[in-house]
Protein backbone atom coordinates (compact mmCIF):
# COMPACT_ATOMS: atom_id res chain seq x y z
CA UNK A 1 0.00 0.00 0.00
CA UNK A 2 2.80 2.38 0.69
CA UNK A 3 4.68 1.81 -2.53
CA UNK A 4 4.74 4.94 -4.54
CA UNK A 5 2.89 5.86 -7.63
CA UNK A 6 4.63 7.99 -10.21
CA UNK A 7 1.39 9.87 -10.83
CA UNK A 8 1.28 11.35 -7.38
CA UNK A 9 3.60 14.23 -7.96
CA UNK A 10 2.84 16.11 -4.77
CA UNK A 11 3.63 13.33 -2.37
CA UNK A 12 6.08 10.91 -3.92
CA UNK A 13 9.04 13.17 -3.46
CA UNK A 14 8.47 13.30 0.26
CA UNK A 15 7.94 9.63 0.74
CA UNK A 16 10.74 8.67 -1.53
CA UNK A 17 9.54 5.15 -2.12
CA UNK A 18 10.42 3.76 1.28
CA UNK A 19 8.08 1.50 3.19
CA UNK A 20 8.47 3.09 6.60
CA UNK A 21 8.62 6.63 7.86
CA UNK A 22 12.19 6.17 8.97
CA UNK A 23 15.37 7.01 7.10
CA UNK A 24 19.03 6.87 7.98
CA UNK A 25 18.86 10.42 9.29
CA UNK A 26 15.92 9.75 11.56
CA UNK A 27 17.57 6.66 12.93
CA UNK A 28 20.68 8.66 13.80
CA UNK A 29 18.55 11.32 15.43
CA UNK A 30 16.60 8.64 17.24
CA UNK A 31 19.71 7.11 18.70
CA UNK A 32 21.07 10.54 19.70
CA UNK A 33 17.76 11.30 21.31
CA UNK A 34 17.77 8.14 23.37
CA UNK A 35 21.32 8.84 24.50
CA UNK A 36 20.43 12.41 25.44
CA UNK A 37 17.38 11.23 27.35
CA UNK A 38 19.49 8.78 29.29
CA UNK A 39 21.93 11.53 30.03
CA UNK A 40 19.09 13.74 31.19
CA UNK A 41 17.83 11.06 33.56
CA UNK A 42 21.31 10.62 34.94
CA UNK A 43 21.88 14.32 35.50
CA UNK A 44 18.33 15.15 36.46
CA UNK A 45 17.81 12.45 39.05
CA UNK A 46 21.29 11.72 40.28
CA UNK A 47 23.97 14.26 39.58
CA UNK A 48 22.16 17.56 40.00
CA UNK A 49 21.64 18.84 43.55
CA UNK A 50 18.32 19.35 45.31
CA UNK A 51 17.22 22.94 45.65
CA UNK A 52 17.61 24.92 48.86
CA UNK A 53 13.97 25.94 48.94
CA UNK A 54 12.23 23.36 46.84
CA UNK A 55 14.08 20.21 47.75
CA UNK A 56 13.86 17.27 45.39
CA UNK A 57 10.87 18.63 43.53
CA UNK A 58 13.12 21.00 41.66
CA UNK A 59 13.98 18.08 39.39
CA UNK A 60 10.68 18.66 37.64
CA UNK A 61 12.32 21.76 36.20
CA UNK A 62 14.26 19.61 33.76
CA UNK A 63 11.07 18.49 32.11
CA UNK A 64 8.97 21.55 32.73
CA UNK A 65 11.16 24.14 31.10
CA UNK A 66 12.39 22.14 28.07
CA UNK A 67 8.85 21.03 27.20
CA UNK A 68 7.46 24.55 27.09
CA UNK A 69 10.44 25.82 25.16
CA UNK A 70 10.05 23.04 22.62
CA UNK A 71 6.35 23.85 22.47
CA UNK A 72 7.27 27.44 21.65
CA UNK A 73 9.64 26.11 19.02
CA UNK A 74 6.93 23.89 17.55
CA UNK A 75 4.49 26.73 17.27
CA UNK A 76 7.06 29.00 15.70
CA UNK A 77 7.86 26.26 13.21
CA UNK A 78 4.13 25.93 12.57
CA UNK A 79 3.83 29.65 11.97
CA UNK A 80 6.88 29.86 9.76
CA UNK A 81 5.92 26.93 7.58
CA UNK A 82 2.35 28.21 7.45
CA UNK A 83 3.73 31.49 6.23
CA UNK A 84 5.88 29.77 3.65
CA UNK A 85 2.92 27.78 2.43
CA UNK A 86 0.74 30.83 2.19
CA UNK A 87 3.13 33.34 0.73
CA UNK A 88 5.17 31.31 -1.74
CA UNK A 89 3.81 30.83 -5.23
CA UNK A 90 4.15 27.09 -5.14
CA UNK A 91 1.84 26.52 -2.17
CA UNK A 92 3.63 23.30 -1.40
CA UNK A 93 1.68 20.93 0.81
CA UNK A 94 4.92 19.75 2.38
CA UNK A 95 5.05 22.93 4.39
CA UNK A 96 1.47 22.47 5.47
CA UNK A 97 2.24 19.00 6.73
CA UNK A 98 5.25 20.28 8.60
CA UNK A 99 3.05 22.96 10.16
CA UNK A 100 0.46 20.40 11.14
CA UNK A 101 2.89 17.89 12.57
CA UNK A 102 4.69 20.58 14.50
CA UNK A 103 1.38 21.90 15.82
CA UNK A 104 0.35 18.47 17.01
CA UNK A 105 3.52 17.95 19.01
CA UNK A 106 3.39 21.52 20.25
CA UNK A 107 0.03 20.74 21.78
CA UNK A 108 1.39 17.56 23.27
CA UNK A 109 4.34 19.42 24.77
CA UNK A 110 2.17 22.17 26.23
CA UNK A 111 -0.02 19.48 27.71
CA UNK A 112 3.10 18.02 29.32
CA UNK A 113 4.08 21.44 30.64
CA UNK A 114 0.64 21.91 32.13
CA UNK A 115 0.71 18.46 33.65
CA UNK A 116 4.19 18.68 35.11
CA UNK A 117 3.66 22.30 36.10
CA UNK A 118 0.50 21.57 38.00
CA UNK A 119 2.11 18.62 39.72
CA UNK A 120 4.99 20.84 40.65
CA UNK A 121 2.53 23.46 41.81
CA UNK A 122 0.91 20.88 44.05
CA UNK A 123 4.30 20.17 45.61
CA UNK A 124 5.47 23.75 46.06
CA UNK A 125 2.33 25.91 46.22
CA UNK A 126 0.05 23.25 47.64
CA UNK A 127 -2.47 23.54 44.80
CA UNK A 128 -2.64 22.26 41.27
CA UNK A 129 -3.58 25.54 39.76
CA UNK A 130 -3.17 29.24 40.49
CA UNK A 131 -4.86 32.05 38.65
CA UNK A 132 -1.54 33.31 37.74
CA UNK A 133 -1.02 35.15 34.49
CA UNK A 134 1.55 32.74 33.14
CA UNK A 135 -0.46 29.67 33.97
CA UNK A 136 -3.58 31.14 32.48
CA UNK A 137 -1.91 32.32 29.31
CA UNK A 138 -0.31 28.88 28.96
CA UNK A 139 -3.76 27.35 29.22
CA UNK A 140 -4.98 29.73 26.55
CA UNK A 141 -2.08 28.78 24.35
CA UNK A 142 -3.09 25.17 24.77
CA UNK A 143 -6.73 25.80 23.86
CA UNK A 144 -5.80 28.01 20.93
CA UNK A 145 -3.80 25.24 19.35
CA UNK A 146 -6.52 22.74 20.05
CA UNK A 147 -8.59 25.11 17.95
CA UNK A 148 -5.85 25.05 15.33
CA UNK A 149 -6.00 21.26 15.20
CA UNK A 150 -9.80 21.41 15.02
CA UNK A 151 -9.52 23.69 12.01
CA UNK A 152 -7.19 21.19 10.36
CA UNK A 153 -9.84 18.54 10.77
CA UNK A 154 -12.61 20.62 9.23
CA UNK A 155 -12.48 18.64 6.01
CA UNK A 156 -12.28 19.75 2.42
CA UNK A 157 -9.37 19.52 0.03
CA UNK A 158 -5.78 19.43 1.18
CA UNK A 159 -5.18 22.96 0.00
CA UNK A 160 -8.29 24.15 1.74
CA UNK A 161 -7.08 22.57 4.95
CA UNK A 162 -3.68 24.12 4.40
CA UNK A 163 -4.96 27.62 3.75
CA UNK A 164 -7.37 27.73 6.65
CA UNK A 165 -4.98 26.33 9.16
CA UNK A 166 -2.12 28.49 7.93
CA UNK A 167 -4.11 31.59 8.77
CA UNK A 168 -4.90 30.33 12.24
CA UNK A 169 -1.33 29.15 12.72
CA UNK A 170 0.04 32.56 11.85
CA UNK A 171 -2.28 34.41 14.18
CA UNK A 172 -2.04 31.98 17.07
CA UNK A 173 1.71 32.36 17.36
CA UNK A 174 1.17 35.92 18.57
CA UNK A 175 0.19 34.44 21.92
CA UNK A 176 3.72 33.23 22.63
CA UNK A 177 5.16 36.63 23.48
CA UNK A 178 2.18 37.16 25.70
CA UNK A 179 2.89 33.93 27.55
CA UNK A 180 6.57 34.70 27.83
CA UNK A 181 6.17 38.24 29.08
CA UNK A 182 3.04 37.58 31.08
CA UNK A 183 5.13 37.45 34.26
CA UNK A 184 6.39 40.95 33.59
CA UNK A 185 3.10 42.36 32.40
CA UNK A 186 1.08 41.05 35.30
CA UNK A 187 3.55 40.85 38.18
CA UNK A 188 3.04 37.15 38.48
CA UNK A 189 3.85 34.80 41.32
CA UNK A 190 5.18 32.26 38.82
CA UNK A 191 8.91 32.11 38.40
CA UNK A 192 10.06 35.10 36.36
CA UNK A 193 12.50 34.54 33.56
CA UNK A 194 15.69 33.37 35.20
CA UNK A 195 17.38 31.57 32.37
CA UNK A 196 16.45 33.75 29.45
CA UNK A 197 16.72 36.90 31.54
CA UNK A 198 17.15 40.20 29.77
CA UNK A 199 20.13 41.37 31.77
CA UNK A 200 22.13 38.36 30.73
CA UNK A 201 23.52 37.17 34.03
CA UNK A 202 22.40 33.72 34.90
CA UNK A 203 21.73 33.12 38.55
CA UNK A 204 21.51 29.38 38.71
CA UNK A 205 23.55 26.56 40.07
CA UNK A 206 26.01 25.39 37.42
CA UNK A 207 25.02 21.73 37.43
CA UNK A 208 21.38 22.63 37.37
CA UNK A 209 21.94 24.86 34.42
CA UNK A 210 23.86 22.16 32.63
CA UNK A 211 21.16 19.59 33.35
CA UNK A 212 18.60 21.98 31.99
CA UNK A 213 20.75 22.32 28.91
CA UNK A 214 20.85 18.56 28.52
CA UNK A 215 17.09 18.49 28.88
CA UNK A 216 16.65 21.07 26.16
CA UNK A 217 18.93 19.11 23.83
CA UNK A 218 17.14 15.86 24.57
CA UNK A 219 13.70 17.28 24.01
CA UNK A 220 14.79 19.10 20.87
CA UNK A 221 16.02 15.83 19.43
CA UNK A 222 12.79 14.14 20.46
CA UNK A 223 10.84 16.89 18.74
CA UNK A 224 12.82 16.64 15.51
CA UNK A 225 12.55 12.90 15.48
CA UNK A 226 8.80 12.96 16.05
CA UNK A 227 8.15 15.67 13.49
CA UNK A 228 10.17 13.92 10.81
CA UNK A 229 8.19 10.74 11.28
CA UNK A 230 4.89 12.51 11.54
CA UNK A 231 5.33 14.56 8.39
CA UNK A 232 6.21 11.43 6.51
CA UNK A 233 3.21 9.65 7.94
CA UNK A 234 1.03 12.61 6.96
CA UNK A 235 2.42 12.56 3.46
CA UNK A 236 1.48 8.92 3.26
CA UNK A 237 -2.00 9.67 4.56
CA UNK A 238 -2.42 12.34 1.93
CA UNK A 239 -1.09 9.98 -0.69
CA UNK A 240 -3.45 7.26 0.44
CA UNK A 241 -6.23 9.76 0.04
CA UNK A 242 -5.05 10.47 -3.49
CA UNK A 243 -4.90 6.75 -4.09
CA UNK A 244 -8.38 6.53 -2.64
CA UNK A 245 -9.38 9.15 -5.21
CA UNK A 246 -8.08 6.93 -8.01
CA UNK A 247 -10.17 4.04 -6.76
CA UNK A 248 -13.21 6.24 -6.24
CA UNK A 249 -12.75 7.70 -9.71
CA UNK A 250 -12.69 4.27 -11.28
CA UNK A 251 -15.83 3.34 -9.38
CA UNK A 252 -17.62 6.48 -10.40
CA UNK A 253 -16.70 6.04 -14.04
CA UNK A 254 -17.81 2.43 -13.95
CA UNK A 255 -21.15 3.62 -12.61
CA UNK A 256 -21.55 5.62 -15.81
CA UNK A 257 -20.63 2.71 -18.06
CA UNK A 258 -23.07 0.44 -16.26
CA UNK A 259 -26.00 2.52 -17.44
Amino acid sequence: MTTTDPDNTSTTSVVGGSRSTGTKATRVIGVAMVVAMGWLVLFGLVLSPADVNQGESVRLLYIHVPTIWIAYLSFVVTAVSSGIYLFTKKHSLGWDRLAGASGEFGVAFVALTLLVGSMWGRLTWGVFWQWDARLTTTALLFVTYIGYLAVRRLGGSHHQRAKRSAVVGLLAVLLIPLVHWSVVIWRSLHQTASVLDTDGDIDMDGTMLFTLFVGVVAFTLLYIWLVLHRTRAMAMEDMLEDRGLDIALAERRAEGVAR
Binding site: G155, G156, S157, H159, Q160, E241, G244, L245, A248, L249, R252, R253, E255, G256, V257, R259
Partner: protein, 228 residues
Protein backbone atom coordinates in the same frame (compact mmCIF):
# COMPACT_ATOMS: atom_id res chain seq x y z
CA UNK B 1 -27.16 42.68 -22.43
CA UNK B 2 -23.81 41.57 -20.97
CA UNK B 3 -21.44 44.29 -20.10
CA UNK B 4 -18.80 45.52 -22.56
CA UNK B 5 -15.96 43.12 -22.59
CA UNK B 6 -12.36 44.15 -22.25
CA UNK B 7 -9.77 43.22 -24.79
CA UNK B 8 -8.37 39.98 -23.36
CA UNK B 9 -11.81 38.55 -22.87
CA UNK B 10 -12.70 38.61 -26.55
CA UNK B 11 -9.37 37.12 -27.54
CA UNK B 12 -11.21 33.91 -28.31
CA UNK B 13 -14.78 32.78 -28.66
CA UNK B 14 -14.29 29.82 -26.37
CA UNK B 15 -15.92 30.71 -23.09
CA UNK B 16 -15.51 27.50 -21.13
CA UNK B 17 -12.87 24.91 -21.72
CA UNK B 18 -12.57 21.90 -19.44
CA UNK B 19 -10.12 19.07 -19.98
CA UNK B 20 -10.48 15.90 -17.92
CA UNK B 21 -11.52 17.88 -14.91
CA UNK B 22 -11.89 15.98 -11.65
CA UNK B 23 -13.54 17.68 -8.69
CA UNK B 24 -14.26 16.12 -5.35
CA UNK B 25 -16.87 16.84 -2.71
CA UNK B 26 -15.39 15.49 0.48
CA UNK B 27 -13.84 12.25 -0.76
CA UNK B 28 -16.37 11.74 -3.53
CA UNK B 29 -15.31 12.45 -7.13
CA UNK B 30 -18.52 14.19 -8.16
CA UNK B 31 -16.83 15.14 -11.44
CA UNK B 32 -14.80 12.23 -12.70
CA UNK B 33 -13.36 13.64 -15.88
CA UNK B 34 -15.36 16.39 -17.52
CA UNK B 35 -14.19 17.56 -20.91
CA UNK B 36 -16.19 20.19 -22.67
CA UNK B 37 -16.00 23.35 -24.65
CA UNK B 38 -18.63 26.03 -24.78
CA UNK B 39 -18.58 28.94 -27.20
CA UNK B 40 -19.84 32.46 -26.81
CA UNK B 41 -23.56 32.78 -27.41
CA UNK B 42 -24.31 29.13 -26.74
CA UNK B 43 -27.22 28.08 -24.60
CA UNK B 44 -26.16 24.69 -23.28
CA UNK B 45 -28.51 22.28 -21.58
CA UNK B 46 -26.88 20.03 -19.01
CA UNK B 47 -28.89 16.87 -18.80
CA UNK B 48 -28.41 14.00 -16.41
CA UNK B 49 -29.94 11.91 -13.70
CA UNK B 50 -29.97 12.84 -10.03
CA UNK B 51 -26.48 12.85 -8.65
CA UNK B 52 -24.84 12.89 -12.07
CA UNK B 53 -22.83 15.99 -11.22
CA UNK B 54 -24.63 18.88 -12.90
CA UNK B 55 -24.64 21.13 -9.86
CA UNK B 56 -21.02 20.31 -9.21
CA UNK B 57 -20.11 21.21 -12.79
CA UNK B 58 -21.86 24.56 -12.56
CA UNK B 59 -20.27 25.40 -9.21
CA UNK B 60 -16.89 24.45 -10.58
CA UNK B 61 -17.34 26.80 -13.54
CA UNK B 62 -18.32 29.54 -11.08
CA UNK B 63 -14.99 29.05 -9.32
CA UNK B 64 -16.58 27.80 -6.13
CA UNK B 65 -14.83 24.44 -6.16
CA UNK B 66 -11.18 23.55 -6.45
CA UNK B 67 -10.03 21.66 -9.53
CA UNK B 68 -8.50 18.43 -8.23
CA UNK B 69 -7.12 17.28 -11.60
CA UNK B 70 -7.22 18.42 -15.17
CA UNK B 71 -7.32 21.95 -16.50
CA UNK B 72 -10.17 24.39 -16.60
CA UNK B 73 -10.39 27.82 -18.10
CA UNK B 74 -13.31 30.20 -18.18
CA UNK B 75 -13.51 33.34 -20.28
CA UNK B 76 -9.92 32.79 -21.29
CA UNK B 77 -8.61 32.73 -17.73
CA UNK B 78 -7.36 29.77 -15.80
CA UNK B 79 -9.98 28.82 -13.26
CA UNK B 80 -7.46 28.10 -10.53
CA UNK B 81 -4.88 30.81 -10.74
CA UNK B 82 -6.88 33.65 -12.25
CA UNK B 83 -10.09 33.17 -10.37
CA UNK B 84 -10.33 36.85 -9.50
CA UNK B 85 -10.39 37.79 -13.17
CA UNK B 86 -13.12 35.30 -13.98
CA UNK B 87 -15.61 35.96 -11.24
CA UNK B 88 -16.77 39.47 -12.00
CA UNK B 89 -18.16 38.18 -15.29
CA UNK B 90 -19.95 35.11 -14.03
CA UNK B 91 -23.44 34.88 -12.59
CA UNK B 92 -24.69 31.77 -10.79
CA UNK B 93 -28.17 30.75 -9.75
CA UNK B 94 -27.77 27.65 -7.60
CA UNK B 95 -30.25 25.52 -5.75
CA UNK B 96 -30.21 28.24 -3.08
CA UNK B 97 -31.29 31.77 -3.85
CA UNK B 98 -28.68 33.80 -1.97
CA UNK B 99 -31.20 36.30 -0.63
CA UNK B 100 -31.35 38.11 2.71
CA UNK B 101 -34.71 37.19 4.15
CA UNK B 102 -35.03 40.29 6.33
CA UNK B 103 -34.57 42.69 3.45
CA UNK B 104 -37.21 43.51 0.87
CA UNK B 105 -37.12 42.30 -2.71
CA UNK B 106 -35.96 45.67 -3.98
CA UNK B 107 -33.26 45.98 -1.32
CA UNK B 108 -31.95 42.54 -2.17
CA UNK B 109 -31.78 43.11 -5.89
CA UNK B 110 -30.23 46.54 -5.37
CA UNK B 111 -27.61 45.16 -3.02
CA UNK B 112 -26.50 42.47 -5.43
CA UNK B 113 -26.53 44.87 -8.35
CA UNK B 114 -24.53 47.42 -6.37
CA UNK B 115 -21.76 44.96 -5.57
CA UNK B 116 -21.06 44.73 -9.29
CA UNK B 117 -21.85 48.36 -10.03
CA UNK B 118 -25.05 47.95 -12.05
CA UNK B 119 -27.13 51.09 -12.56
CA UNK B 120 -30.51 51.56 -10.89
CA UNK B 121 -32.27 51.57 -14.27
CA UNK B 122 -31.01 48.09 -14.90
CA UNK B 123 -32.23 47.02 -11.48
CA UNK B 124 -35.71 48.35 -12.17
CA UNK B 125 -35.79 46.73 -15.59
CA UNK B 126 -34.70 43.37 -14.19
CA UNK B 127 -37.31 43.44 -11.44
CA UNK B 128 -39.99 44.41 -13.92
CA UNK B 129 -38.94 41.58 -16.16
CA UNK B 130 -39.06 38.90 -13.50
CA UNK B 131 -42.38 40.20 -12.18
CA UNK B 132 -41.24 41.30 -8.76
CA UNK B 133 -41.73 45.04 -9.25
CA UNK B 134 -44.82 46.76 -7.88
CA UNK B 135 -46.29 45.53 -4.59
CA UNK B 136 -43.79 42.72 -4.16
CA UNK B 137 -40.79 45.06 -4.37
CA UNK B 138 -41.47 46.32 -0.86
CA UNK B 139 -42.16 42.92 0.72
CA UNK B 140 -39.53 41.20 2.86
CA UNK B 141 -38.15 38.08 1.18
CA UNK B 142 -39.14 36.00 4.23
CA UNK B 143 -42.74 36.66 3.31
CA UNK B 144 -42.53 35.47 -0.28
CA UNK B 145 -43.73 32.21 -1.75
CA UNK B 146 -41.14 29.78 -3.10
CA UNK B 147 -41.62 30.90 -6.70
CA UNK B 148 -41.51 34.56 -5.78
CA UNK B 149 -38.15 34.01 -4.09
CA UNK B 150 -36.84 32.30 -7.18
CA UNK B 151 -37.99 35.22 -9.30
CA UNK B 152 -36.22 37.65 -7.01
CA UNK B 153 -32.98 35.69 -7.27
CA UNK B 154 -33.35 35.68 -11.06
CA UNK B 155 -33.94 39.43 -11.07
CA UNK B 156 -30.72 39.93 -9.10
CA UNK B 157 -28.94 37.75 -11.63
CA UNK B 158 -30.40 39.51 -14.67
CA UNK B 159 -29.41 42.89 -13.26
CA UNK B 160 -25.82 41.69 -13.10
CA UNK B 161 -25.48 41.41 -16.89
CA UNK B 162 -22.90 38.68 -16.58
CA UNK B 163 -21.10 37.23 -19.59
CA UNK B 164 -21.49 33.68 -18.40
CA UNK B 165 -24.76 32.60 -16.81
CA UNK B 166 -24.80 29.39 -14.84
CA UNK B 167 -28.33 28.30 -14.00
CA UNK B 168 -29.17 25.32 -11.84
CA UNK B 169 -32.78 24.28 -12.49
CA UNK B 170 -33.91 27.84 -13.08
CA UNK B 171 -37.44 26.82 -14.04
CA UNK B 172 -38.17 24.95 -10.84
CA UNK B 173 -40.81 26.79 -8.85
CA UNK B 174 -41.65 29.34 -11.54
CA UNK B 175 -45.18 29.51 -12.87
CA UNK B 176 -46.04 29.45 -16.59
CA UNK B 177 -45.62 33.17 -17.09
CA UNK B 178 -42.35 33.20 -15.20
CA UNK B 179 -41.02 30.39 -17.39
CA UNK B 180 -41.89 32.21 -20.59
CA UNK B 181 -40.35 35.39 -19.30
CA UNK B 182 -37.21 33.63 -18.20
CA UNK B 183 -36.76 31.84 -21.50
CA UNK B 184 -37.16 34.99 -23.51
CA UNK B 185 -34.71 36.80 -21.21
CA UNK B 186 -32.17 34.05 -21.69
CA UNK B 187 -32.59 34.00 -25.45
CA UNK B 188 -32.14 37.73 -25.56
CA UNK B 189 -29.02 37.59 -23.39
CA UNK B 190 -27.51 34.88 -25.56
CA UNK B 191 -28.29 36.86 -28.67
CA UNK B 192 -26.35 39.80 -27.30
CA UNK B 193 -23.30 37.67 -26.59
CA UNK B 194 -23.81 36.04 -23.23
CA UNK B 195 -23.13 32.35 -22.77
CA UNK B 196 -25.59 30.28 -20.82
CA UNK B 197 -25.42 26.91 -19.10
CA UNK B 198 -28.67 25.47 -17.84
CA UNK B 199 -28.98 22.32 -15.76
CA UNK B 200 -32.54 21.11 -15.89
CA UNK B 201 -34.80 18.12 -15.55
CA UNK B 202 -37.65 19.76 -17.45
CA UNK B 203 -36.45 18.48 -20.75
CA UNK B 204 -39.30 19.63 -22.98
CA UNK B 205 -38.86 23.22 -22.03
CA UNK B 206 -35.10 23.19 -21.71
CA UNK B 207 -34.49 21.37 -24.98
CA UNK B 208 -36.46 23.91 -26.90
CA UNK B 209 -34.49 26.68 -25.25
CA UNK B 210 -31.02 25.24 -25.67
CA UNK B 211 -28.82 25.36 -28.74
CA UNK B 212 -26.73 22.46 -27.54
CA UNK B 213 -27.09 19.60 -25.12
CA UNK B 214 -24.46 17.99 -22.96
CA UNK B 215 -25.20 14.81 -21.09
CA UNK B 216 -23.69 14.47 -17.65
CA UNK B 217 -23.32 10.84 -16.68
CA UNK B 218 -21.66 9.75 -13.46
CA UNK B 219 -19.45 12.81 -13.36
CA UNK B 220 -18.43 12.71 -17.01
CA UNK B 221 -19.68 14.87 -19.84
CA UNK B 222 -20.84 13.57 -23.21
CA UNK B 223 -21.70 15.85 -26.05
CA UNK B 224 -25.21 15.19 -27.30
CA UNK B 225 -24.91 17.60 -30.19
CA UNK B 226 -26.70 20.70 -31.39
CA UNK B 227 -30.38 20.72 -30.60
CA UNK B 228 -31.55 23.38 -33.03
Amino acid sequence: MPRPVDANDVASDVVIELREVVATLGQFPALSGATMQVDRGDIVLLRGSNGAGKTTLLRLCAGLLPVARGTASVLGHDLVTERDLVRPHVGLLGHQNGLYSDLTVAENVRFWAATVGASSDEVDAAMERMGVAGRLAGVAVAKLSAGQKRRTALAALVARRAQLWLLDEPHAGLDQLGREELDSTLRQAAASGATILVASHELDRAESLATRTIDVIAGQTHDAGESK
